[in-house]
Amino acid sequence: MSKKLRVATTSLAGCFGCHMSALDIDERLFTLLNLIEFDRSPLTDIKHCGRCYIGLIEGGVCNAENVHVLREFRKNCKILIAIGSCAITGGLPAQRNHLDLGSCLTEVYLTEPGLAHGYIPNDPELPLPLDKVHPLHEVVKIDYFIPGCPPSGDAIWKFVTDLIAGKTPELGHGLIKYD
């Protein structure tokens, strides 16, 4: 292969567990690095995503910044993959969806015991939370989904290497799981 494929990864409203799971490919990471190079990713600390072949995103969309990052990925990645339960369904953070955002903020910043003169942070630097947490595919088009919480390192390895080889990725028995 003449040129390495560029891959970007990020975590939105996630716990980085999917990234940790990806590291479970262990020494295969070296094989992988012969085929790809990382663009924006927690592994490189590059702040903005350039043109990429694959974008891997864990976590759902819970605030305005998540929307911006997701759009940036969509604009730059030929193939965008939602990885893990939170990206696919909203997951654990979406547990707040049945609560009113206003009462969440009130409880956390105003009425919680021990908070004197509290106020709801309103610095323009801070991203505003959305009223509900959404899965990625409700905000941009997603090409592939890797289920699991987290998906195993083997599943991620199989999926990504299939893609690089130009095959439609298929997670066979034992690799597909939802918990």
Binding site: A64, L101, N122, P124, P127
Partner: protein
Amino acid sequence: MVSDSGLHATYLGPILERHGYAATSLLQILREAQEHYGYIHPSAISYISVKLGIPRARIEGVAGFYSFLHLRPHGEYRVLFSDNITDRMLGSQPLLEEMCRQLWLQQGKVSEDGLVSINTTSCTGMCDQGPAMLVNGRAITRLTQQRVQEIGQLIRNRTPLSDWPSDFFAVDDNIRRSGPLLGNTLAPGAVLSTALTLGSENIIEEIKQSGLRGRGGAGFPAGLKWEACRNAPGEARHVVCNADEGEPGTFKDRVLLTRQADLVFEGMTLCALAVGAQHGYLYLRGEYRYLLEPLQAALQRRRENKLLGKNILGQPGFDFDIVIHLGAGAYICGEESALIESLEGKRGVPRNRPPFPVTHGYLQQPTALDNVETFCAAALAIHMGAEKYRAIGTPKSSGSKLISVSGDCPRPGIYEYPFGVSVREVLADCGAVNTRAVQVSGPSGVCVAASEFDHRLGFEDLPTAGAFMVFDDSRDLFEVARNFVHFFAHESCGFCTPCRVGTALLKQTMDKIAAGHGTQYDLHEIENLDQVLQTSSHCGLGRTACNPVLHTLRHFRPAYESRLKSLEFKPAFDLDGALARARQMTGRDDAGAHLKTEGA
């Protein structure tokens, strides 16, 4: 003070006694237990659990499955508006909203004083006289603004249901066209007398010769089923009548059970004679609870006339009796194996098939399970003789068929036709004009557009279980399909993932399109979902859940496309609107506090 369990013992004791402390009667026990408080009290569950020797989790599992059973207080008056598309077309939605306003409550919530709750339920089988509702399980038809206001007043005054005006509960038969089945004047026992002279083998032979096929939709030859049941090894044989008429738009079994109850029971007894069964069950859908007492009375009359019980018609060894089992609001229980599970007092989850009920049915014994209309038709076929019966209808679909007509036509109701009648003829008879489409055989059936009105009802062309919903050119077929998709998502039993998740995704996608956020991409998604549902669902519910969308997409694609926002992908919700609450809470309105539409 009477202890908690003592309190429940007083009303639960007799119920359990009546059901012989049998766990197979759990659903019946829970239904009856609920009638006491309007919900099943936690202590009542403990009591039943001890007395039946089954774990609490199983009882709660069963109670949680059926939508008419409640584990928490649901109000003294539980109002459920029938939510079939035909009810909606007759204006059920504004009536529901008005009633909520009148009683100061939100749909789906119980009023603070615990008096009343209002919600929707799947089609209650009153499509020819809607909009309809159930109040504490009792059907009320022909709702108007005035009637709804009166009902609200009665509820406010805590008037007992038994003191409500009786015309509220009137259910009309609306028979518009009669035939050999509805027009028969057979005396109770007449068919059985003939059958006794024939004997078991000849009955089955006659039924086979008559070409009778199941009327529940699948069209399996009844004679073959009965023969297989008779020949299957087993300790006891059962006859089950499927009166769980849940397919939206179907109400012919209701009319048969009202007008021809004796013929239904005669057909079941005939089947018992043919297969050698001693026990019969009529699985009556919970929505038809009001038919229970008249049906019980009919059974009692037949026992008194030696048409049920020991030595029927004096024939030694011809013993057969019928028990009525009430459902509790689960469409899936119309599927035969789910029905049997429910009959055994369990959650109505379809079984793996094979083995089929005919060899491993109720309590794993050979079971002949047929639709209400099939039993009636079988009795008629024996009475007329195979040859004469076969002469009615078409070569592959012999006999007549009851069609439940509803929707946009001046004469909705029951029409009996010989098989082979065209859609166009039915439309002409019911007076429908400017018809855009007909949904034949309910949401799981086929949407027939005007270009196909010459197709004929019958197993060789347009198979039907009886529903015939008419939509004229003022109707939006997208909304029709969306209603059906919501129905399937609600009624999925939750057992298999493709159906549980697939129907929910389908519903979300349809709602996204309805909200004006849809794109071409979503139409592709619907087609992908259909592939998954059709190929990997456990039972027919999942396999047919996509039909309404696929059929309407085929014939009425512009109804979808006109709603699409663009051909490119669009988010499923208003992104900037989703920040409004946070803007309000923080008092921010800077550029960062907004999300622009992409490309704008």
